[in-house]
């Protein structure tokens, strides 16, 4: 975290004031609590000072009609936590839409024969009709489970992902699951992740975690011989192969990754998790619940880590190694040394092309802080960041990442984000598909930071090279210089573009 800079706090405070002035009073009052400028807790400085807990309110209901970017609990459970478990059939239980829109959209990479022994990129739905709403869907669910068993006998289990109507019409999916699990001798997990629950995806993560606790753990027949270096990777969904680019490092330093949650995972990897020695958690927001549970119940320690960019990777590897002692620590130093030339070469190539470029981020619950240092490794500057569904503990952690004067926005609205970007005119925006095209229309380079814009992986050393390349190709593409028709009088300075190498 060597990069030293300060952002224009006064400008950012003014931008906040400006956007708030456009809301009806009631909404302005509510939105005010979610917008802030990071300020140093201790102006005098000192080691590891961090900022005050990035003073914004979070995890609060979105205001109606403002164009929140958030999703729902179903998205948090089916889309994030459960969907990637590859050998299970995940039934989107309710009307057809939720499963359709989330079908194959999170790029949870996996290896398997789809439709035979793996099912991630398929859309299983109970396709509720009016009669199911009126008479209830439990009978239909029973039949669906039977049909899954008949057509997909190699599936490792089934999860029932509730859509809004399930909880409203009083279906008892737990009873159905219990009955059918017994009948078919398979794990069947009912998940109460109806979209209206909670304020964002976040409650869906929590509910999904609880479902693992209640419906997967503590099976008698988990047969596994554990070893001294067994770890679970928790909260890596293997987007574009992230978990693979992480696993390769953890194995190289001598650890045995016995389970990866939940990208490219089989149910077996989840079932045996309580036998590991340590839980390594990447996406703290979506999976901390089950780590806390495993700590309490099985005495498994957990540790947060960050595999974005060399600074964080090195720090994380060393931190993980410390937990296991000198033998692993020694290997870890060798691994760090092995990858150093790659890191140096990547930085030597891309830093000159990216240095000083400003970045605004708006992502989910982890990356708005986790990727900051990766940008700084390339001498890029983070001017603003915010979360869709973070909680207070995330903003506390954010304080250690952001610099003085950074603009912070929680559950940002379409209007605010547009105005902030317009006011700051960063060199790059990293956010989601809904934000991508409005930003690019303004002539500002953009990268999707949920899906890696169909690239990736971004985790690990191998991922960092791709990350650096992608930021370069986004910012330095010549198209940004073509926006203005030459016969139109120029209003602003021409947009900068560097020729591709």
């Amino acid at each position: 975290m060597g990069l030293d800079y300060e952002n224009d706090g006064a400008l950012h405070a003014k931008l906040i004031e400006d956007v708030l002035s456009q809301y009806p009073d009631k909404a302005a009052k509510r939105r005010k609590k979610h917008l802030s400028v990071a300020t140093s807790q201790d102006e005098a400085g000192g080691e590891d000072k961090g900022l005050s807990e990035c003073d914004v309110k979070s995890n609060i209901k979105s205001i109606p009609g403002v164009m929140t970017i958030r999703g729902c609990a179903y998205a948090g459970s089916k889309g994030v936590v459960w969907g990637p478990v590859k050998d299970m059939v995940h039934i989107s239980h309710g009307p057809v839409g939720c499963g359709q829109y989330s079908w194959s959209q999170r790029r949870n990479y996996y290896v398997g024969t789809t439709g035979i022994d793996t099912f991630v990129t398929m859309q299983f739905t109970s396709d509720f009709q009016e009669k199911d709403i009126v008479f209830g869907g439990d009978k239909k669910l029973e039949k669906i489970i039977d049909e899954v068993e008949d057509l997909f006998p190699l599936s490792g289990g089934i999860s029932v992902q509730s859509e809004c109507p399930i909880g409203l019409i009083g279906d008892d999916i737990e009873a159905v699951s219990r009955k059918k699990a017994k009948e078919h001798e398979k794990t069947i997990v009912p998940v109460r992740c109806e979209g209206f629950r909670g304020v964002s995806q976040s409650l869906g993560h929590h509910i999904a975690n609880d479902a693992i606790r209640d419906w997967v753990f503590d099976k008698d027949d988990v047969d596994f011989e554990s070893g001294p270096y067994d770890v679970n990777v928790v909260g890596d969904y293997n987007i574009g192969g992230d978990a693979w680019a992480s696993r390769i490092l953890l194995e190289e330093i001598g650890l045995r990754v016995v389970g990866n949650w939940s990208g490219d995972a089989t149910l077996a990897e989840i079932e045996r998790a309580p036998k590991a020695k340590l839980n390594l958690i990447h996406c703290y927001r979506s999976m901390n619940y089950i780590c806390r549970h495993m700590e309490e119940k099985y005495g498994i320690a957990w540790m947060e880590y960050n595999f974005f960019g060399p600074t964080q990777i090195e720090a994380s590897l060393r931190n993980i190694a410390k937990h296991f002692g000198p033998e692993i620590e020694e290997k870890t130093e060798k691994v760090i040394a092995k990858y150093r030339p790659l890191v140096d070469a990547v930085i030597a190539k891309y830093r000159p092309r990216l240095e000083g470029n400003t970045v605004m981020l708006y992502v989910g619950g982890l990356r708005p802080r986790h990727v900051i240092t990766a940008y700084e490794d390339l001498a890029m500057v983070i001017v603003g960041t915010g979360y869709e569904f973070a909680h207070n503990d995330d903003y506390q952690r954010t304080g250690h990442y952001v610099k003085n004067g950074t603009l912070l926005y929680d559950d940002v609205t379409g209007y605010e984000l547009e105005k902030f970007i317009e006011g700051i005119r960063p060199d790059l925006v990293g956010s989601g598909i809904k934000e991508k095209y409005p930003v690019q229309k303004m002539g500002i380079p953009f990268r999707q930071m949920h899906s890696w814009d169909y690239s990736g992986p971004y985790h690990g050393y191998d991922g960092f090279a791709i990350f650096a390349r992608d930021m370069d190709l986004a910012i330095n593409n010549p198209v940004w210089g073509l926006y203005r028709a030459p016969w139109k009088k120029m209003k602003d300075a021409p947009l900068r573009a560097v020729a591709a190498e």
Partner: protein
């Protein structure tokens, strides 16, 4: 096994996921992961099951499914409503219910069009489930009106609001009374339950809602010869609507396209983000009441809307996505008959050029077998065009196809010798299609991006001509309708055929005697 310690990645040649994970380090790592930690089924069992899914036996079980739906080719009503609203001037979609749905509709549309897609939600949560969402509607409309400066707010519903029974008419009235928006501000609405029909019905409901809002209580004075045209839910609206307007302009017809999202989903990049662009002008919607006739380009998208147009006294007619020669002929002749405008010679020349192209290529198309899936009108259109080229539409599948559609398809297919062996699959999904393609194979599959999984599993080349297309860019910018559109469809099919033939004949010294330079 000894660990490989080399490094696949380098700064000179950065490998991303596609090549990276094919490197030996990763292949070994993944093989070991599978073996040691995944508890996989033995390979033979997986292979056996895979082979089993290709059989008639599996097909019968698969097609006999009564409850489970796998890989359907349809979306839910509110998506259609949001798309419909995007076709009116400065209109913001307001979807009443849970907020996650709106995030999904916006993403879905953006991924297809590669364009911004704006819509707001009333963000209902548990308390609203208990007490109803009136407060959300009141606050929500006020916020949307103030922040996004719309000319109209089009309200639809998610299934949550439908299940708890929120009543849009009274809610909107209440919101107006509480001053959320001015009393004379336009807030048309449509109840769009996700558990009834599909996106094409949501489209129908929203367009009808808009027309009712502006037409109800107004006096109609028929303007003879004028025509309204409703395109229907169409992922190719950008190319199609523009082509359509070009043809109508050539004919000199007085017309209004009701619901025109062609500019909204194709805004230029010049430094300015346009949240709203184009769309049917509100004044034009009002004036459209006086049209002599309303024509729908997609019958199954507009059943209720056309019924309403009939009620107000307009003549109506509907088409099935006019594409190819005869379907375009019929559409233009109908327009000509109502408007009294002749079809000009330039259009006849265009027709001739399409027919010319079909004649040039007929030998490559004659007897080719197709599987076609998608929305009901599209499947109808493609089957018809394929038959015009001498192709045989072996499987015609619409997950949202009704029994009426089935009957209509039957008639269409019976009308041509090329349709004699065709099978119609109403209400079936793409996992059913997988069995169909294994047991009764075809040469080409026509559908959308989801079809790529069928292409992978069955080896049937996929032609993407239907919403949504996520994995190819810009196809929607070009028309499929009309004679010009027909040319494009024809070329796309031919490219697929030639590319496949080249691939199959390109092995040096083995098959490349057939690797002909001229075809």
């Amino acid at each position: 096994m000894e660990k490989v310690t080399t490094m696949p990645q380098s700064a000179e040649k950065v490998l991303d996921h596609a090549p990276l994970f094919r490197e030996p380090e990763y292949r070994q790592m993944l093989a070991e992961k599978k073996l040691n930690f995944e508890c996989p089924h033995p390979d033979q069992i997986v292979t056996d099951q895979r082979e089993l899914t290709k059989t008639w036996e599996y097909r019968e079980k698969n097609l006999a499914r009564e409850a489970l739906v796998i890989n359907p080719a349809k979306a839910c009503q509110p998506l259609g409503a949001v798309f419909a609203a995007a076709g009116f001037e400065r209109t913001m979609s307001f979807v009443h219910g849970s907020q996650g749905c709106v995030a999904y509709y916006r993403s879905h549309l953006s991924r297809h069009f590669k364009e911004p897609s704006s819509a707001v939600s009333s963000s209902m949560t548990e308390d609203a489930a208990v007490f109803g969402g009136l407060k959300n509607m009141v606050d929500g409309l006020a916020n949307t009106y103030k922040l996004y400066d719309p000319k109209m707010i089009a309200v639809s519903t998610t299934c949550m609001a439908e299940v708890i029974g929120d009543d849009l008419r009274s809610f909107i009235e209440n919101a107006k009374n509480e001053g959320s928006v001015p009393c004379d501000f336009d807030v048309p609405f449509a109840h769009t339950p996700a558990f009834v029909g599909s996106h094409v019905d949501g489209y129908d409901g929203m367009v009808k809602g808009v027309l009712e809002h502006f037409w109800k209580g107004s006096e109609r004075s028929q303007a003879a010869g004028t025509i309204n045209i409703i395109p229907g839910f169409d992922g190719f609206c950008v190319g199609n609507n523009r082509e359509l307007k070009r043809l109508l302009d050539l004919m000199g017809v007085t017309y209004t396209v009701i619901q025109d999202a062609s500019d909204q989903f194709d805004t230029p990049s010049d430094g300015e983000y346009r949240m709203y662009d184009g769309g049917t002008k509100i004044e034009d919607v009002k004036g459209a009441l006086n049209a002599e006739a309303t024509l729908s380009l997609q019958h199954y998208n507009t059943r209720k809307t056309l019924e309403y147009c009939n009620e107000v006294g307009q003549a109506t007619a509907s088409f099935h996505y006019p594409l190819g020669v005869q379907a375009t002929d019929e559409f233009l002749m109908k327009v000509s008959a109502i408007s009294g405008q002749e079809i000009p010679e330039t259009i006849r020349m265009e027709r001739g050029r399409l027919v010319d192209a079909m004649a040039d290529s007929q030998s490559w198309l004659h007897g080719k077998k197709y599987a076609i899936y998608g929305d009901p009108d599209f499947v109808c259109a493609m089957a018809r065009f394929v038959m015009e080229t001498g192709g045989e539409p072996t499987h015609c599948l619409a997950t949202n196809g009704t029994s009426a559609w089935q009957v209509e398809m039957k008639e269409l297919l019976a009308s041509s010798p090329f349709g004699q062996d065709a099978q119609i699959w109403a209400g079936k999904d793409l996992w059913a299609m997988r069995s169909l393609l294994f047991t009764e194979p075809v040469d080409l599959l026509i559908g959308n991006s989801y079809g790529k999984y069928l292409e992978r599993d069955t080896g049937t080349p996929l032609i993407r001509l239907m919403f949504p297309i996520f994995d190819r860019h810009h196809h929607h910018r070009f028309p499929l309708m009309g004679y010009q559109g027909g040319l494009r469809v024809l070329t796309t099919i031919l490219d697929k055929i030639f590319d496949k033939l080249d691939r199959e004949t390109s092995e040096t010294g083995v098959t490349d005697y057939s690797y002909d330079l001229t075809r």
